[in-house]
Symmetry: none
Subunit: 229 residues, 4 copies
DNA sequence: TATGAATGAGTTTTCATTCAT
DNA sequence: TATGAATGAAAACTCATTCAT
């Protein structure tokens, strides 16, 4: 199917940079292959082969398959938050629709993130060490905190801390719509039937609508609260 | 050759009613045990044993483990929609907060539904026949269609068909927040740390907030649209 | 595939004759289905369904699947020996070629016998009671004894007892060529290749050649022995 | 997730030779154990354990149980043909009895071959890939072709191609008599009864007689044909 | 560092047979 | 007799991970 890239260079990664680069290669390959195959179907052997490494070598960079994919999730989330940061910094204030659009556009640039996020709850978080869990969640808290503050800057109605909370809900919505819009092949075929087509969800469209509504509603609720304390 | 060393036989379900009842017993047990153990840890043997049946008997009622749990999801969803129907029918009109509250309350009455829903995308829909997928999605379409119309009655701003679409988003939100609020034990422990506590999500609270915002925002968007066509 | 005959008459077989007839129906169905499906793929449920009986009913007639098929083998062997008897009785003496032809022709009239015989050694005789084994072998001894005597009548060179012994070898040859000429679908496909076609064996042709050679050689050996005692 | 609790590791077969040797060890063990236990009773676990390997390791050498035993059949057949080749090369010409004796003696040196051959038709050839089937049959064609030519040299009456054909029949006879002379324990007990003893077949004796007759008859038929064309 | 041979835990599903009805 | 619901034993194979080289 996918031809083994087999770089056959397989030089030893001696320097720190070389190691970091190889680690990144692994994550990229994992991300790429994961777009084609489900987690359980994507074997470490295939991944190693794709990169031109031996199976054992992967374990010099990641202690487990779960840990490897957790790193991939993290990397992809990182990129998303970076993209969001860049986009938001260009606004002085922003209305719900525009914010939803920015987040959605930033997500579309990371087309593999949603699949990876779906792994998070159902697979990865079931099979990692507490240490990894803490590290990942701390990373998430950091990113959300930072971007939350940015949101609070853009949406005056948001009080301190509510930006991050809003982001938690954004996450949930991304996960939910992400899963609904990425059905398995079998389900996909079922949803092609005329009478079931309206159950299909297009990720960008629906996500933008949902986020927009969420932001609008959130703001409205806060204003209502604010007006009638 | 294969000797069946009968131990103690359960009463035979010969009538149609008895069969339906036994099927229901199986689903109830599956639901109950699934609240304790993850899907992959919940073996058919344990399930059978719990009910006092032999493993093979389960397969007289469901062709596979996946199919069994799909039926459990369906039953639980059915109950949720029934509860929603009952609750909504008592309103002539409804505001976003109240609607969010009703849906949330109805969900809280089905505490196992969210976990089952999380299975849907990641496990069940990967391993079922197209026929089962069609049946399940048709069931979903029916329920959503009916309840969608009810929503359109309660929220005048909703045009025909938008009730069901809104429900698709409700589903996504339920799935997303459901997963976020039901972390694995390891993650749970991580989230107990002071600096990570704010990542915890309480299902009823957050769901109600999110749905309320969603409805409010949806209505607002529609009105905005309606006012400036 | 094969449409369930579903006689739905399913009258109770009260008289002895009715029982015998039903037993025969079962054997006929077993033989017929066994021509389509290998032993392990031919389930008792399918067999029962084909006849329009319930699974359990089969066990009122045969104590086990193996026993059922052993009876089928026996019935088919019986028919073969009957056919042979009829054919041989029409000769006063016979030459090797003609004898081989008669046996082969008699076998061709029982096209399912060879498959059943292949079951005998590898499956049935591994899983029957000693009692059944004795009964079957005694039956075989009876048939072979009788026909052996007939052979001794037709081939003067044969001394008493050698007819039966010759038949044992005939059996072996029938089994061996029977298996070789009835390859599995996969092997069949392999044997269609030009360079492998010469490994194909046509049962009637090869059997006749082999038996003819066997008889001719047997007679020659005896004569050689007889001439130089 | 899946923790590999290494116990004691066998020496790793890294070189090509070491791998070939290990493969051979596996085949030898399989052959040896198969003399004691029927195919279905001989579990891969037992086999692995016997060699001091883990189950999984077997699958590094053979893709399936069937494929493993097919290789065993092939190896054993190979040895038989080698033995035959050696024996026949010592003759300038040969009479039927002597030929039968050589083949029988060569077979007796491979006491496990007949059992393995019985597997071929009933089990192995039902469960292999077409590719494996082709490879095996091609191997067989090669061996038979070579030995067939040898036969044609030794038996002048044989025309080109008839040596191989004769070998096909030899195969069939070996299979048939092999099965008849290797009854299951139960049948064996039945055949110990005085009135059934004459159904017992002694492999070397009966095979030699049958082959001798076959060759003699074959030659006679050819001569008859040759004399009266 | 890299390799890849070796490890071994882990579980659904089938189907001949039984027996309550 | 007939039914068919219930029984439960049974085993090959995968693949993440390890570790000798």
């Amino acid at each position: 199917m996918t031809v083994a890239t087999q770089k056959r260079s397989t030089k030893r990664a001696r320097s720190v940079e070389a190691r970091a680069e190889r680690r990144d290669d692994i994550l990229s390959a994992a991300e790429r292959l994961f777009a084609e195959q489900r987690f359980s179907e994507l074997h470490m052997a295939r991944l190693a082969n794709e990169i031109g490494l031996a199976k054992g070598t992967l374990y010099l960079y990641f202690p487990s398959k779960e840990s490897l994919f957790l790193a991939a999730v993290q990397r992809s989330l990182d990129a998303w938050y970076a993209a969001i940061g860049g986009r938001l910094s260009r606004h002085a204030f922003i209305d719900p629709d525009a914010l939803a659009r920015e987040l959605t556009d930033a997500l579309v640039e990371q087309p593999r993130l949603t699949r990876l996020l779906a792994l998070l709850h159902t697979v990865l978080e079931q099979n990692i060490t507490e240490q990894d869990a803490v590290a990942f969640k701390a990373f998430l808290a950091r990113k959300m905190g930072r971007t939350g503050i940015e949101l609070e800057r853009l949406i005056p109605a948001l009080e301190p801390g509510q930006g991050a909370r809003l982001l938690l809900q954004v996450h949930a919505v991304v996960v939910g719509i992400g899963q609904a819009s990425d059905p398995s092949p079998v389900v996909n075929r079922a949803l092609e039937r005329p009478d079931l087509q309206h159950l299909q969800m297009d990720l960008p469209t629906e996500l933008c609508v949902a986020l927009s509504a969420l932001f609008r509603g959130f703001a409205a609720a806060l204003e209502a609260q604010g007006n009638t304390p």
